[in-house]
């Protein structure tokens, strides 16, 4: 089976920190948690995978299409949610969703977006600028999941969400891996996220993988 994510010799060098060279394979439907202390390279790795950061070397393939070379098809297949993304504050959530819908037209699932919005307690006519951090993250998750990406990259995407809603979010994520075979890579400082949904945990230290741990999901125990 074709890997959902295939990373080879990925490198990113900053002045005082370097990531990699790093190899990684993630199967469709697999959930990989990226763990490590602050500054260990978690966000750098995830940003490179999402096409938000230009690596200095190596290749990244998303469902067989990758950069450098096939950036367009690869970008269409990956969804990215982070605490650092902001919706257009003066526009409604509906407007922001329409932007995501138009750019992800082929795979946009309006029905799924409506149902996710309801389940996550989102009001589509609300101005995005009036949303709290937690609600913004919920909206971003709904927008991204409605695009039905092959790979979902989440960088601290549940940090600002309250604990009761966080378990709902984890449920959606599990559903996505089961129903659509979405591969998920996420970084979170919350152990409950890692314990609940990760199949594998990748521990980073100083930009390199120092340990890999296979997990049995709570649901399967």
């Amino acid at each position: 089976m074709k890997e959902a994510v295939r990373v080879r010799s990925l490198r990113k060098q900053y002045r005082r920190f370097g990531l990699g060279p790093l190899d990684l394979d993630v199967a469709p439907g697999e959930v990989v948690a990226v763990s490590g202390a602050n500054g260990s390279g978690k966000s750098t790795l995830l940003l490179c995978l999402a096409g938000m950061l230009r690596p200095d070397g190596g290749t990244v393939e998303i469902s067989g299409r990758g950069w450098p070379g096939e950036s367009g098809p690869a970008k269409d297949r990956v969804g990215f949610v982070s605490d650092g993304l902001k919706l257009h504050p003066r526009e409604s959530l509906r407007w922001n969703a329409s932007l995501a819908a138009s750019l992800g037209a082929k795979k946009w699932d309006a029905e799924r977006f409506r149902s996710l919005s309801e389940r996550l307690g989102l009001v589509l006519d609300e101005r995005a600028g009036a949303l709290s951090r937690g609600r913004t993250l919920r909206a971003l998750l709904a927008l991204t999941l409605a695009r039905r990406p092959d790979v979902l990259v989440l960088d601290e995407a549940t940090a600002a969400i309250d604990s009761s809603m966080r378990s709902s979010v984890r449920r959606f994520l599990r559903e996505s891996t089961r129903e659509d075979g979405v591969a998920i890579l996420f970084a979170s400082h919350l152990d409950e996220d890692t314990d609940d949904i990760a199949d594998r945990v990748l521990y980073l230290e100083g930009g390199s993988v120092c340990r890999i741990e296979e997990r049995t999901k709570e649901a399967e125990r």
């Binding site: 938000m52 993304l85 750019l103 695009r147």
Partner: protein, 217 residues
């Protein structure tokens, strides 16, 4: 680069500009009408209003582009299925269309007002409009690549200073010579060609520069 994505980004940008574009169009129209129907100081008021609206657009669009980067709304757009070059091209296309709104308002006033038509030959007016448009696109390019309000405003400020004081720098005799030179069709075509070439270079540099950026988050 996919044309459909560029157009979708441009459409989204224009929707974001929908509240300010009518304001600039109204300012330009009001300025042009004052220039057309007034006399003495009223003509000066109209001209200054036209100049203010033009300068306002030069500053406003780049400020929005920098705000987009600093405010992380660009990161949201870039997290969607759009490539850096498509995002930058969308912004440029939206700017071109946005500039057309006040330009059309000014052109309509010029065509319908005989007194305004008598003040400036149409070729000079088109050249001034083209130069203004080039400055707007160039400022947007600088804003997109530098992501810095300071850099963008400094360069734009220097350009505004030079362009609005060009008569003073050249002196009365040379200004008159330049004016006479601009009245010749060949000089006009040469200037228009130079501006068009400069515009193409700006657009290519902006697209390439934005694509080469290291981080969009």
């Amino acid at each position: 680069m996919r044309g459909s994505k560029v157009w979708l980004m441009a459409r989204a940008e224009l929707e974001l500009l929908r509240r300010i574009l009518p304001v600039y169009a109204a300012l330009v129209t009001f300025g042009a009408v004052l220039t057309a129907v007034g006399d003495g100081p009223v003509v000066g008021m109209g001209a200054s209003l036209l100049l203010a609206a033009g300068i306002g657009i030069c500053f406003h669009l780049p400020i929005l582009a920098v705000q987009d980067a600093i405010g992380r709304t660009r990161a949201f757009a870039m997290s969607l299925p759009v490539l850096p070059m498509e995002y930058a091209a969308g912004k440029l296309v939206a700017t071109i269309i946005a500039c057309l709104v006040p330009a059309c308002a000014a052109a309509a006033t010029y065509v319908t007002s005989p007194s305004v038509r008598g003040m400036l030959p149409p070729e000079i007016l088109v050249l001034v409009g083209f130069a203004w448009f080039t400055v707007v696109v160039q400022s947007l390019g600088i804003a997109l690549i530098s992501e810095s309000m300071g850099v963008t405003m400094t360069i734009l400020g220097i350009e505004m200073f030079v362009l609005t004081n060009i008569g003073t720098f050249l002196g009365p005799e040379r200004s008159a010579e330049l004016w006479n030179l601009l009245a010749i069709r060949q000089s006009q075509l040469l200037l228009a060609g130079g501006l068009a070439l400069f515009l193409v270079v700006i657009v290519m540099a902006t697209l390439r520069g934005f694509e080469q950026k290291r981080c969009y988050a």
